[in-house]
Symmetry: none
Subunit: 189 residues, 4 copies
DNA sequence: TATGAATGAGCGTTCATTCAT
DNA sequence: CATGAATGAACGCTCATTCAT
């Protein structure tokens, strides 16, 4: 049922998906649906909460210290993990990135908090980087949002408008990291 | 009518706005609404099309040549114009960035084309930059999406979650350009 | 619409009447119903509130004094008015007396208050009667409920189980008053 | 199971009680419920039929004759028995008096017959009383309904709106009999 | 041009009942 | 005997759209 709902929601979006669509696709009766899920909203939540939780678990704070691996390796690993998680859950990823708002105000808040936490992590990394003398002085909030936006947009483009399986995710991740770290100019220009 | 619809859509979102909301706010009769607009979808389209057209007019291809102003000045000017347009139309900007997906598949396609054109423009600029030897070799498609995503996210954050009037748009624009050009690392690190 | 709803509710009761029944009988569309009434509950309320208000207006406190008509005449007049009101609204009377409880707790309370006011009025009359030395000493609360119950039962019987138009209401009213005042025994026995 | 259903029906009323409520309270499975009862309606019937039968058994025709106890003692005894039965089954009494109408037309008819039999008994007693010269000439049908209504209303009031255990039932019964026999006026007034 | 009463397909949800195990 | 997952008809209600005036 969850798998079916995932597919339908992913194809049609939340509002355009009716209970009728879900139960027809799952070939169950109306009542059966409500036996397992409290409401349309509830199954949607259940679906997305799983991805959000998994996603958050993939993102690890970059450690600095004599025994820690080089920061760039940690970043690569995190990005690889995140992209893999999204790829493994590409239907939900599609929903998470598309159905950004407009379900209801509760959902908007939830999503906003999720992105807020990611923003906070990027800001933390930027500040650490500045203390270590490797990061440029900048408005950390704006730059954190830039990074977040880069990731969201690239992933959405790759997953929604392209065939995600045809894309070399590792390569794409490296490009995103390079852009985030160095921008698009050659150094010294 | 359009102004009223703009306000209501911006406040409540597309799905949560009913024809009743629109005609009540505009103080016209139901029939009158349908005299001027084919449907709820149609007025929403009209509203967004206006912004999209205006927005596209603000973005000018960067010229290179002996008589052209320095590229950085052109970029600053374009970003300033775009941000000003968005600020002047912040209600529609809010809608464009928050709610524009998930209305229906026709609309999604339209939006996708709009962003596609912007992506193409960024890619063009990147390629020109590389020919001039100032841009890093990179996957232009990915980097173009990164830049687009940065802008979208920052603007959405500024307009939806903050008070856009309390933000120094020029400064914010400069931060975004700096990030886009140079990333977040100090040069040479 | 109200007339139709009155008939249907009266025939089938509140729970057994569906919106479908109402709109079919009135030959209007679903939407039209909700154009005029907020909900099924609302139209039911509207129907009953009217009768309850009218009914309460018919019951006048019995006046005692040198210029007042004889109490028995006042009682007869009040009973005649009440019975006439019920007869004129016999469909709603049927509902009021049958659908005594079970709509929802709000409605139960409302009805309970209505009967409470009538009880209070009977108790007042009984106490006045005792001060004037014409009423027996008794538990006024119990006797007030007895009188109320007599009226409810007789009216329900007459309206629900008989053809109310075939009954001589004036005669029935006189019987009820006689019973209430003197019981069923011959005096002195 | 019957005891549980009695409690739940009494607390929530027929319509507001779902099969879920019943089986949860009885801690049995859905299927088990339908093993013992044909339907929700059936268990409700069974519950009420029991009380109705018991109740009818408590009401004995008043005997007149040289060896019979004084009629007033017989009446007191019958009323005491009826009130005791109702008190012992106060949950069902609550249902019988509050909710019994409006379930469906079959049930309404059944109830109507029950009250019809009681009415007939009262009419018989009144007619006997008149032959013995102790009862007033009156419309026996109306007076019988008055008596029935008195009892129903007082009992309902006592059981539903008051705490039945806090009421002196014997005293209440005597008041009702006194009212029924002598009304509320002092004799000779 | 403007109106607003009327429409009805469609929604999400409930719950008494069934039946394979 | 007992179970409880599954059913689906029916519910009350919404709202974008139409059309006679």
């Amino acid at each position: 049922m969850l798998a079916v709902a995932r597919r339908i929601f992913s194809q049609k979006g939340y509002h355009a998906t009716s209970i009728h669509d879900l139960i027809e696709a799952a070939d169950i009766a109306r009542g059966t649906f409500y036996l397992y899920f409290e409401s349309k909203r509830a199954i949607f939540d259940e679906l997305l909460d799983g991805l959000v939780t998994t996603l958050q678990a993939q993102v690890k704070r970059i450690e600095v210290g004599p025994d820690a691996p080089p920061p760039i390796d940690q970043m690569n690993a995190t990005v690889d993990r995140v992209l893999k998680t999204l790829l493994d859950n590409r239907e939900m990823a599609r929903i998470l990135l598309r159905e950004a708002v407009g379900i209801d105000s509760d959902f908007d808040r939830k999503l906003s908090e999720f992105y807020g936490r990611i923003e906070a992590m990027f800001m933390g990394a930027l500040n650490t980087g500045r203390q270590l003398g490797v990061a440029r002085p900048c408005d950390a909030k704006v730059v954190a949002r830039c990074i977040l936006g880069s990731v969201k947009e690239v992933v959405q483009w790759a997953f929604v408008e392209q065939d995600p399986l045809a894309i070399d995710m590792t390569k794409m991740g490296r490009e995103m990291i390079a852009f985030t770290l160095k921008g698009c100019l050659v150094e010294g220009s």
